[in-house]
Symmetry: C2
Subunit: 208 residues, 2 copies
């Protein structure tokens, strides 16, 4: 495996995409090599040529997710620069879920849920993934504070975590109930809470 070549990279990519979708749909445990092969139109040899094992594939899928978030090519936009962006970020999750007729949860949460005491490597991948997300959100809150648009009494990381865990809980409940209304309501409440920290910029006059 010295120079990975075009065709190879394409195959590898197809496998990752297929696996990511299947993991999202039914979780890691419930997804067999067979299904991944069929969905990605590949054979067993490709699978094990490009990836050490199923666990290795999970790792690569998560790395791919992380990369997508970082470079802004993910299904959801994590570049938040305004409160309405934040709203959009929340609502995009509900939209994603609806796209799958409320039968799926969060792609990351679904995998995270399956982590056990023995999956230390996967757990760390997920930890990193959620840290990237948190940083995106916390970055926004920090900028808002800098501009005087954020009230006191909460730190940025905590607010970011609140966003993440709210959306995770909402999507889980939404999937169990197969009901978008549940998700929308939960999002409304989260936004409601966050709005409490919002400060309108004082008319430019007294500096302070």
């Amino acid at each position: 495996m010295r120079t990975p070549s075009m065709k190879g990279k394409a195959t590898r990519r197809r496998i990752i995409d297929a696996a990511a979708d299947l993991f999202h749909k039914q979780g890691v445990q419930a997804t067999s090599p067979q299904q991944i092969m069929e969905t990605s139109q590949t054979g067993k040899s490709q699978l094990y040529h490009h990836f050490r094992s199923k666990g290795g594939l999970v790792h690569e899928v998560l790395q791919h997710h992380i990369q997508s978030i970082r470079e802004g090519s993910a299904a959801i936009d994590y570049e938040i620069t305004s409160w309405s962006d934040l709203q959009r970020w929340f609502r995009a999750h509900a939209g994603l879920q609806e796209k799958y007729r409320m039968t799926r949860g969060c792609p990351f949460g679904t995998i995270g849920n399956e982590v056990t005491e023995n999956d230390e490597l996967i757990r760390r991948d997920l930890e990193l993934l959620f840290e990237v997300v948190r940083n995106k959100l916390a970055g926004f809150f920090l900028r808002e504070r800098t501009r005087g648009r954020l009230g006191p009494g909460a730190n940025e990381a905590a607010l970011a975590d609140f966003c993440i865990s709210s959306i995770q809980g909402a999507m889980l409940l939404g999937k169990i109930r197969r009901d978008r209304g549940t998700v929308d309501l939960a999002i409304d409440q989260a936004l409601n809470y966050l709005a409490g920290f919002r400060r309108s910029v004082p008319r430019r006059r007294g500096s302070a």
Copy 2:
């Protein structure tokens, strides 16, 4: 199977307890009949004598959870009659998680996350379970409103769902990070939000 007898009931109970714990620990998919047999000190014949299939066992485990919640014998107390009870309810979840060294999530959420489009029966069980929980919480909020201790602008069911999804999200993130601090912070924020709806009872004077 006309008259289930003492010994039989005990065995059945051991199996359900073992399965519930294993499902909580590692999820349904990752739990094999073998493991359930070992943990519950039973043989394969008992398993399939008392339960139709693995799916049937999952169903019975969930029914057992529902029953436990209803009759107040669950690991967590759902009888909420005061705001401090509500606080305790939240914190009990963090406590439960810590008991397992932050390696597990919520017993119900863990199963719920594994539900797919094809598990309609299990999904319904979980839907019911979460409705029972919601009713417990909503009941409290309703009583508070009746007594004039709840501000306007939110309905009881929505607040109850907010509690549930907050705790679900928090426990998932806590498990991924293996960090209780995350959970505690998330709970603080949820309580913070809820506190905004709390009204102190007006001095008993003007009726209305």
